[in-house]
């Protein structure tokens, strides 16, 4: 199960498991973003390489207009995935508790 929606604070809340089966749903939402946004991963348990592709594709598109995604409340496992992928150099990432 994966859910993505705007929270009351304007951040984009991602919840559940973003695996290959859920990427179409995530990509549809991200394609509707026209400006910079903050992704709140507090409820995101898991991300696959296909999910990384959704993030990267969106970041590249937003960068064309000078905008960018920020990602907050990243758990330790996903933080490792970002580090191994080199995503910490191309995304503004805040771990849980920061």
């Amino acid at each position: 199960m994966f859910e993505i929606e705007f929270g009351d604070d304007g951040n984009i809340r991602c919840m559940g498991r973003l695996d290959a089966a859920q990427c179409e749903k995530a990509q549809r939402f991200m394609d509707s973003l026209a400006e910079a946004g903050t992704l709140d991963f507090a409820g995101l348990e898991y991300i696959s390489s296909a999910g990384l592709g959704v993030l990267l594709k969106t970041q590249k598109r937003l960068a064309e207009t000078g905008a960018a995604l920020k990602i907050i409340n990243v758990n330790n496992h996903i933080k490792d995935v970002f580090r191994y992928s080199g995503f910490n150099a191309i995304f503004d990432i805040e771990a849980s508790g920061n």
Partner: protein, 133 residues
């Protein structure tokens, strides 16, 4: 524990539940679970993606090795695709030059302890292990 799964992304939830049942039955801690789930799902997704017309199920076996988990995945009637062959991965380029995709096998190699591939009689068998953390 062994089970076969339909060649579809829709099987990912069922695979997760199957593996979680194994972890709980064997009392395997959470830090070990994530990398196993990750490697398993990436490898299964590759099998679905690169052999879409194949109607054979994919067999999954998980075992408790005492201080590690062993996962074996068997795919039937497929061409060889050696997942252990190192592939060039770009994790350092600027955003504009970064390709979308191709990270899965690189990430698996970072997260598991051993990764082996065997191919015979049009059967691919992938085995990986993850030490308990």
């Amino acid at each position: 524990m062994q089970k076969s799964f339909a060649r579809s992304y829709d099987s990912l939830k069922e695979i997760y539940d199957f593996t979680e049942d194994f972890f709980q039955a064997e009392d395997i801690a959470e830090p070990t679970r994530y990398p196993v789930h990750f490697a398993l799902e990436e490898l299964f997704t590759n099998m679905v993606k690169y052999n879409p017309g194949n109607d054979h199920d994919i067999q999954l076996n998980v075992e408790n090795g005492g201080d590690h988990v062993t996962v074996t995945m068997t795919d039937y009637d497929v061409d060889a695709f050696d997942v252990t062959v190192p592939r060039k991965v770009d994790t350092k380029s600027p955003l504009a030059d970064r390709p979308v995709g191709g990270l899965g096998l690189h990430l698996i190699r970072r997260m598991v302890d051993t990764l082996d591939y065997h191919y015979a009689d049009r059967q691919s068998r992938i085995t990986f292990t993850k030490r308990f953390e």
